[in-house]
């Protein structure tokens, strides 16, 4: 495990500049890390705001409570003062007590003036102080009044200022009480709001991230499946931006390139083997024209003077014809074996299949089986690489030859597919068929039931790779008693361009 991790971290592994990764790379980058970071910062900012706000509101509440306490004391004092004032007027008690209480109230205002000012604002505070001092003045006047008449004059003013003072303070206290209550309620509810918003946000982010991760993982699962089936085309961008998965895709593309390379090596080695097999047949086939030429030329020299002109002419013509026959025998194989880059070109599928049957003609003859080729005329052309397609059909026919006993039948049909835009080649034999339990494995590389010197097990795997690359498919229908049918379907030139551009 550790090794893998260090492998991935290895900075040398950088496939950004590989040509197959260009399209992956030409996108803006939004990494998963960035997404996670953004979501977390959002959460953090949200929590921070809410916490800060709570702190602020609690401090405010604190000052309000402080104020209410002070205001309560103050109210008590001035109410007390008024009570004594009333007593004085009704029962002529001492007025000193009233003044005493007023003094305490004044002290409270003086002492806590900052706190009170903060809440009342300067203006109101001033009004309050003014009301109180007016009341105080009246009280002092009242105390110094000499007779009832004088008193009568002061009392209405005193009452007015007194009640103004009390009601002004009372109003404020009430207002502050209501506002404090409201703040309490808010402070109680905000965590609940916060929780619900957080919950919604979190589920949304989670869903979004999980969906993205899952979708991407699914896509990569598709890729591995596709690669497993031998489709080695590079991964193309599926989203508008890059992230950590882009690195993975780049690594995938690198792997695909390597696999494709390895696949080509296998393909080449399988082809060499096939050529080896075919060469044995061709060498044998060559013996006949060579023998005819040698015999004719020998007899021509031996009897040169006794032969008629006509006979000589016939013999020379035989030599020419047999040489050409030899040329034909090797030409097909040479075409197939020729090295070098081959190109994708529009091809006549019928001719490819016919050439393939001609390549294996000796193997078919040795095995004493019959090969029948049925080709629809006027088939649309297909896109493909001539040699590689021949390699596919040669392998299919040789596979059939290998399982047939003398007298067996191979039937090849070339026709239009029922799916429009495709042509179909079926290679059918009446051999023993393929047992069900190995049907799933015959396309695996190196799977073979043949002796080591006879088969490498690369044929079908390589063939599948070739056909898949051309946008076609190859599949198998086999029945233990009725033999085997391999079906190859290939897109025609018109549809091929569409498929390739997908």
């Amino acid at each position: 495990m550790d090794m893998h991790i260090t492998d991935i971290k290895n900075p040398e592994i950088n496939h950004e500049n590989d040509p197959e990764n260009m399209s992956l790379h030409e996108r803006p980058s939004i990494s998963i890390r960035a997404k996670v970071a953004i979501s977390f910062s959002l959460f953090f900012i949200l929590s921070f705001t809410v916490t800060g706000w709570s702190y602020w509101i609690l401090t405010k509440l604190e000052t309000k409570i402080d104020f209410l306490e002070i205001a309560d004391n103050y109210m008590a004092e001035i109410q007390q003062a008024r009570r004594f004032e009333k007593n004085y007027l009704l029962y002529s008690t001492d007025l000193e007590e009233a003044l005493e209480h007023l003094k305490t109230a004044d002290a409270i205002l003086k002492q806590k003036n900052e706190q009170i000012e903060k809440i009342l604002e300067k203006e109101h505070f001033k009004t309050m102080v003014t009301y109180m001092s007016k009341y105080h003045n009246q009280l002092v006047l009242l105390r110094s009044a000499k007779n009832d008449k004088e008193k009568e004059l002061i009392v209405p003013m005193l009452r007015q200022f007194g009640s103004q003072m009390v009601s002004f303070a009372g109003e404020f206290v009430e207002k502050e009480q209501i506002s404090a209550k409201r703040m309490f309620l808010l402070a109680k509810r905000v965590p609940l709001y916060f929780m619900s918003v957080l919950f919604v946000l979190m589920s949304f982010v989670l869903m979004f991230l999980a969906r993205q991760l899952l979708l991407t993982l699914n896509r990569f699962m598709e890729y591995t499946k596709r690669i497993g089936e031998g489709d080695f085309s590079p991964i193309l961008p599926a989203r508008k931006y890059k992230d950590e998965f882009t690195k993975l895709a780049e690594a995938f593309n690198h792997m695909i390139k390597e696999l494709d390379h390895k696949h080509n090596v296998l393909l080449e080695s399988h082809k060499l083997r096939a050529i080896g097999t075919l060469v044995a047949g061709v060498a044998h086939e060559l013996n006949n024209p060579l023998n005819n030429t040698l015999l004719t030329a020998s007899m021509l020299t031996e009897d040169f003077h006794t032969l008629s002109e006509e006979e000589k002419m016939e013999m020379v013509n035989d030599v020419i014809n047999e040489t050409e026959r030899a040329q034909r025998v090797v030409k097909n194989l040479l075409d197939f074996a020729r090295e070098g880059e081959t190109a994708i070109a529009p091809l006549e599928i019928g001719k490819i299949v016919e050439d393939s049957t001609r390549l294996v003609v000796n193997q078919v003859k040795f095995a004493k089986v019959n090969l029948e080729l049925n080709c629809e005329t006027n088939l649309p052309r297909i896109h493909g690489d001539e040699q590689k397609l021949k390699q596919v059909f040669v392998n299919l026919i040789l596979n059939a030859v290998d399982v047939l006993t003398p007298g067996g039948q191979i039937r090849i049909h070339v026709q239009k597919d029922q799916t429009p835009g495709y042509v179909l080649v079926t290679v059918k034999d009446n051999g023993p068929g393929i047992p069900e339990h190995i049907q799933g494995r015959i396309f695996d590389p190196f799977f073979t039931t043949k002796a080591q010197s006879k088969g490498t097990g690369l044929g079908l795997s390589v063939s599948q790779g070739i056909i898949k690359k051309l946008g076609g498919y190859i599949h198998l229908t086999s029945n233990p008693d009725k033999g085997t049918i391999f079906t190859v379907s290939l897109p025609t030139t018109e549809s091929a361009s569409e498929i390739m551009s997908k």
Partner: protein, 139 residues
């Protein structure tokens, strides 16, 4: 030189018969040429040949089957196999079974003449190979 050697030549390549017939006639053989193994086998059923020369690989019936027919019917007859180079193993095996000799394609007319001369000697009717000396030297 008494009776001529009776030779049956079977090869599905027509040119082989066309060229070898005059070549063998020159060394005193009487040659019948066949391209079709069934017709050849039918003829063998009728007539005892001294020597049968047959290709080993043919479409309908192979040389070994022809050899079996000959062996059953005329045990005295010498059979010579013509083979492709690739089938030399098969030919060796055939020799173990009683085939007189084999010759691999491509060969010269003289190569076959030599083997036929050997067969004639084995049959106790040697042919005078040197009577053809002049032509052979030229060849």
């Amino acid at each position: 030189m008494s009776k001529p050697l009776e030779v049956l030549l079977l090869d599905d390549e027509p040119i082989v018969g066309r060229r070898l017939k005059p070549a063998l006639v020159k060394i005193g053989c009487r040659v019948e040429v066949f391209e079709n193994p069934r017709e050849a086998v039918a003829r063998i059923g009728q007539k005892e040949f001294d020597i049968v020369v047959t290709d080993i690989r043919m479409e309908e019936m192979d040389g070994l089957q022809v050899f079996k027919h000959v062996q059953e019917k005329w045990p005295r007859t010498k059979v010579i196999m013509i083979t492709g180079y690739a089938k030399i193993d098969l030919a060796r095996e055939a020799m173990g079974k009683g085939v007189f000799d084999f010759i691999a394609k491509p060969f010269r007319p003289d190569d076959l003449r030599q083997i036929i001369a050997n067969a004639a000697e084995a049959l106790g009717a040697p042919i005078d190979f040197s009577s053809m000396g002049d032509e052979l030297v030229e060849a």
